[in-house]
């Protein structure tokens, strides 16, 4: 009796071993990727949220040009371009045989449609500045587009690489907010709001096809849930992992790999410059001196993150270190509050989006502000709510913490309607000059001046440059180390046994 049972057991074990061996031999072709924030909709060309690009850029949508893994500008749908009339006219030569996911052809008229739509007066494109320099867009032939600018602009290919400038088609524009149709290596399959977005491989892709067959994006911002999901194998890659305290543990575990890189994310505590009490520069300066960046970086980020003193990435050659303008000095802070004549304790509202860096930094900064007599009331909100009431709409907030992950985005300070409500004509002039300046040295000088103006005006409290912490299963290869733009480019990602 016993031997019979043993036989069965051994046989069973052998079958199991054989089955799992077979499974091991074949590399997986699906990937589950977790991000912190869910896109509010699927249209990167009319919504500011970087979460949209994070899912769709380079995967589903492509632009004339694109950002490479280290921020370099690469040809994409435009395989090459000629510059004439001293940088005023760009002639883009488009890739051949490109089809949108709905089967329609991609040609020059789609480019004209996209650019005209983005710069139209009623356009809701979040980065209209990218298209402001365009004078006319002409279709020369189906594979050639001529863009005439109002003034020479050496940075035009850079501007066309943004997620806000990806090419969309008139045939599919109606449903773009829920059903994005692009030209990329992945097709949009399904979006279950509040849970996941599914992409599948585009079998008719015009370029080098993707190696993965199926990609699922999940959205987890809570550090505890992120840790549990990673440990249980519910997700294979966590892009921008929210709990830096777990990184040593993942590093020590052979099942995982940890990739720490840089992002373009200036993490700031934005102050509402448009309404009291932060319309008063003295109060803003007081806040800037009350914040201890070292404590924030150590306490909220466990030491990961570079302090910044202005809205500019420290790895950029034109960066000026202005952290000393807003050094930690609570006594000075109290003095400034007295000068400003505000009644203490000054009650303000601190609205925090769900990202872990914001929630944790917020708690620390709130304690630091209380020490100088400012009483922040913390209000934790969901992402959609943050986007609709803080970032857009009524801008109903006093303080909020967010990382601006777009590359080279100091231009947002020239927009008086932007959510933090900074309106300084002198700064706006510097930006206007920068737009038409082509000389590298002069551009650099203007950029430095711009950084200094906003730091001296204490527009926001500048905290740290957000690091990119990716935790992935050990077998996943081809992930980007850095985040030169908001993207999770999965084109080259594959499983290695």
């Amino acid at each position: 009796m016993l031997s019979k049972w043993m036989k069965v057991t051994v046989l069973g074990a052998l079958t199991l071993a054989a089955a799992s061996g077979a499974a091991l031999a074949q590399a997986r072709d699906d990937l589950k990727v977790a991000l912190q924030l869910e896109p509010p909709n699927m249209d990167p060309t009319s919504n500011a949220a970087g979460a949209i690009d994070q899912v769709l850029y380079a995967n589903v949508f492509q632009g004339l040009t694109r950002f490479g893994p280290d921020g370099e500008i690469l040809p994409d749908l435009a395989k090459s371009w000629d510059i004439s009339e001293g940088g005023k006219v760009y002639t883009f030569h488009l890739a051949e045989g490109v089809k949108f996911h709905d089967g329609t052809d991609f040609d020059a008229s789609d480019v004209k449609f996209t650019l005209d739509r983005a710069r139209a007066p009623d356009s809701t494109n979040a980065q209209k500045g990218l298209f402001a320099g365009i004078d006319t867009v002409e279709v020369v032939d189906p594979l050639t587009v001529k863009v005439v600018l109002k003034a020479p602009d050496g940075a035009f290919p850079f501007k066309m690489a943004w997620g806000d400038a990806v090419i969309v088609a008139p045939e599919s524009i109606k449903d773009i907010a829920t059903y994005p149709v692009g030209t990329g290596p992945f097709k949009f399959e399904d979006w279950v709001q509040g849970d996941h977005v599914d992409l599948e491989k585009n079998p008719d892709y015009w370029g080098t096809p993707a190696k993965l067959d199926h990609v699922e994006f999940k959205f987890i911002s809570d550090p505890t849930a992120a840790f549990a999901a990673m440990m249980a194998g519910d997700v294979d890659v966590f892009y921008s992992y929210p709990a830096p305290e777990n990184l040593p543990q993942f590093e020590a575990d052979p099942r995982f790999q940890v990739i720490v890189g840089s992002t373009e994310g200036e993490t700031i505590m934005a102050m509402n410059n448009a309404r009291p009490p932060f319309d008063n520069k003295l109060v803003r300066e007081a806040v800037a001196h009350a914040v201890n960046r070292k404590e924030v970086i150590d306490g909220a980020m466990f030491g990961y993150g570079t302090p910044i003193g202005t809205h500019f990435a420290p790895h950029n050659p034109d960066y000026v270190d202005l952290t000393s303008l807003s050094d930690y000095d609570p006594e000075k802070s109290k003095e400034l509050l007295k000068q400003a004549g505000v009644t203490l304790p000054l009650k303000v509202k601190m609205t925090l989006p769900p990202t872990a860096y914001a929630r944790r930094s917020g708690e620390i900064i709130a304690a630091e502000l209380r020490a100088v007599g400012i009483e922040p009331q913390i209000e934790n909100v969901e992402w959609a709510q943050w986007l609709s009431s803080t970032f857009k709409g009524a801008h109903d907030f006093d303080l909020t913490i967010i990382s601006h992950t777009e590359p080279m985005d100091i231009g947002i300070y020239a927009n008086p309607d932007y959510y933090f409500g900074y309106n300084n004509p002198a700064f706006q002039k510097v930006m206007a000059d920068l737009d038409v300046e082509t000389d590298t040295a002069k551009r650099s000088a203007l950029l430095k001046e711009a950084q200094t103006i906003i730091a001296q005006d204490y527009v926001n409290a500048y905290l740290f440059q957000l690091p990119l912490q990716t935790v992935a299963a050990a077998g996943v290869k081809g992930l980007w180390k850095n985040a030169p733009t908001q993207a999770t480019d999965l084109t080259g990602v594959y499983w290695e046994n």
Binding site: T224, F227, N246, G299, I364, A366, R370, I378, N380
Partner: protein, 278 residues
């Protein structure tokens, strides 16, 4: 009751001691705590228990003992007020339903209670705080609302049996109104039931508050709360177990204490059990 009988009830003694410990800690925190709980000390974060910080420090360098003491205040305040709401509304409803037993009014009240009861209590609480916004006040309202049917049912069933008794009949013959009878004769006779249930609901209230603040819907920072301390410590449990251990123990011991106290009080107060034993 004799002191012997009181001591014989071991549950009651342990329960009272544990409850007393945490109530005492909460009361003491009004006068004195080892460290200010809003004061962060990032340089000394995540330190294990030592002579300086008896229960160690958390990820912002705050003293865990102080946070547990002040957190006890939050827990107890939320639970007391939530049970207060449940009793304050549930008991009169139950008494009213019993006074007008088997009428349409009775049906309406009790089916309304069934409706609230049909939802899992914590789900209601999550729903209510999600609608009203997360705060300690809304947690009190949320937990209080699902306490109402508990007390309404208990009072009604307790009162129903009493309404057929001779002394109530005598009161009715004497011309007392239904409301007066309910409060003067019925209520004192179901008080023991209510006290026992109150203790149990109190422990459930503490658990519910911890649950709500664990998911971020309870008291908001910087007010310390046991549930949030647990939530914050979860990703750090592998290298800082003390951060999860102590708030976890606090919740466990308080709830255990209240349950033992409730059991002990039932043994002590329930006339049926008392009769059976003597």
């Amino acid at each position: 009751m004799s002191p012997m009988r009181f001591l014989r009830s071991r549950n009651l003694v342990i329960g009272a001691l544990l409850t007393g410990l945490f109530t005492g800690a909460a009361l003491l925190s009004f006068l004195w705590v080892p460290y200010d709980v809003t004061q962060m000390d990032i340089a000394h974060k995540i330190k294990p228990p030592s002579g300086v910080h008896w229960l160690g420090t958390d990820h912002y360098g705050r003293d865990i003992l102080s946070m547990i003491m002040v957190g006890a205040r939050t827990s107890i305040a939320v639970a007391v007020l939530a049970v207060g709401i449940g009793m304050g509304l549930g008991v009169p409803l139950g008494l009213w339903a019993a006074a007008r037993r088997f009428s349409l009014l009775d049906e309406v009240i009790m089916r309304g209670n069934d409706l609230v009861f049909a939802f899992p209590s914590l789900i209601i609480a999550v729903m209510i705080t999600a609608i009203l916004g997360p705060s300690a006040t809304n947690a009190i309202i949320a937990i209080g609302i699902f306490n109402i049917p508990v007390f309404a049912r208990l009072s009604r069933s307790g009162a129903l049996g009493l309404w057929n008794r001779d002394f109530i009949l005598a009161a009715r013959v004497a011309g007392k109104g239904a409301m007066r009878i309910s409060f003067e004769h019925v209520l004192p006779n179901i008080l023991n039931l209510l006290i026992v249930q109150g203790t149990i609901q109190f422990s459930m209230g503490i658990l519910a508050e911890a649950g709500l603040s664990y998911v971020g819907l309870g008291a908001q920072p910087p007010t310390p709360s046991w549930g949030r301390m647990l939530a914050d410590s979860q990703t750090m449990i592998s290298f800082a177990p003390h951060m999860a251990l102590f708030p976890g123990l606090a919740i466990l011991l308080t709830v255990l204490g209240l349950n033992l106290l409730g059991d002990g009080l039932r043994d002590l107060l329930d006339p049926k059990l008392r009769r059976g034993r003597t």
